[in-house]
Symmetry: C2
Subunit: 162 residues, 2 copies
DNA sequence: CAAATATTTCATTTATTATTGAAATATAAT
DNA sequence: ATTATATTTCAATAATAAATGAAATATTTG
């Protein structure tokens, strides 16, 4: 009979801590890091209930956290035969993880920035300020940034994929 | 006589908005984006007072925001002859900006992660769980990630520098 | 060096974001 | 179909982070 540990071992706690810091660096909530970290180090898939209990977080947090983690494919559901609960496991492939994040979180922002810039450019056409040229050059530069960032993100994705 | 506009023009507001979104993407406070955006589009350097007034933010925000922006070299002080106030201007070189950010914000986190991983590895040596091998392999993988991220950041910096 | 102005710091307030948990919904077993 | 269990949703609360502004600390000028 396997003894179910309710609380975290030191090892688990330390690994989770690394992930918590990591996700906070990219502006994601702590609970996301906790859940992912726990699943990352766990030898077996865990149910939502186990996750809640071990991490001492609420049902809602667990559910929402897992949802978000699945949204960028950091966590997968594993169907356990003869059990109606969902079991969750971490995607440990660095490339899949980061690519998902870039696609879900970074790309959309860059796209919308491009659109907005376009609209501002149009407005500028009608301007008759003495500073018009300055503004035009700054917007031009900003457009350059936008394109550079876009290119950089694509390069990063390629690099991550090898 | 030059008319000093107190509030933001539509152009300023829209450019600022782009920067606000941008900085929020990387987890920086809104005020940072506002200040930088204003300085980015401004044809002339601005004093802290002008920044406060135009953006309608407090003295403290302006001071702290400018401090942080200077910390990763996104903003420079320009000494204006015959005026004791400091005047601020935006660093518009994309490469300088991003390199500064990576150095100040991203690098240190990666360094500390490496140390912590090392310490966990040491603890693992003394473990006698049946799952020890699993743990070891996950930690190994995590170490791989850490090194990859480090390498990626270096590549990004190189790319940005051209 | 005193007065005036500019800037920083930091305790408090305010705004934002994450977390909770109860209710609603979905899913499976009997 | 009914009951039991699992999951999601979302309004309320708690926790966190940012903004404020008054006081402390420079800095410049006469």
């Amino acid at each position: 009979m396997q003894i179910e540990t309710e609380s975290l071992t030191q090892l688990e706690a330390e690994v989770i801590d690394i992930f918590v810091r990591g996700v906070q660096l990219i502006g994601l909530p702590k609970s996301i890091g906790e859940i992912y970290g726990l699943l990352y180090i766990s030898p077996v898939p865990l149910s939502m209930n186990q996750i809640m209990t071990k991490l001492n977080i609420s049902l809602g947090s667990a559910s929402q956290g897992l949802k978000q983690l699945r949204s960028f494919r950091a966590v997968k559901i594993v169907y356990q035969a003869g059990d109606r609960k969902d079991y969750f496991t971490a995607e440990t492939e660095f490339r899949k993880l980061t690519v998902g994040f870039f696609r879900e979180e970074v790309y959309p922002h860059l796209e919308s920035a491009a659109e907005r810039l376009q609209s501002i450019q149009t407005q500028l056409e009608e301007m008759h300020s003495e500073d018009r040229e300055h503004y035009q050059s700054r917007l031009k530069k900003l457009e350059g940034w936008q394109k550079n960032s876009h290119g950089l993100v694509e390069k990063i994705i390629k690099f991550i994929k090898f």
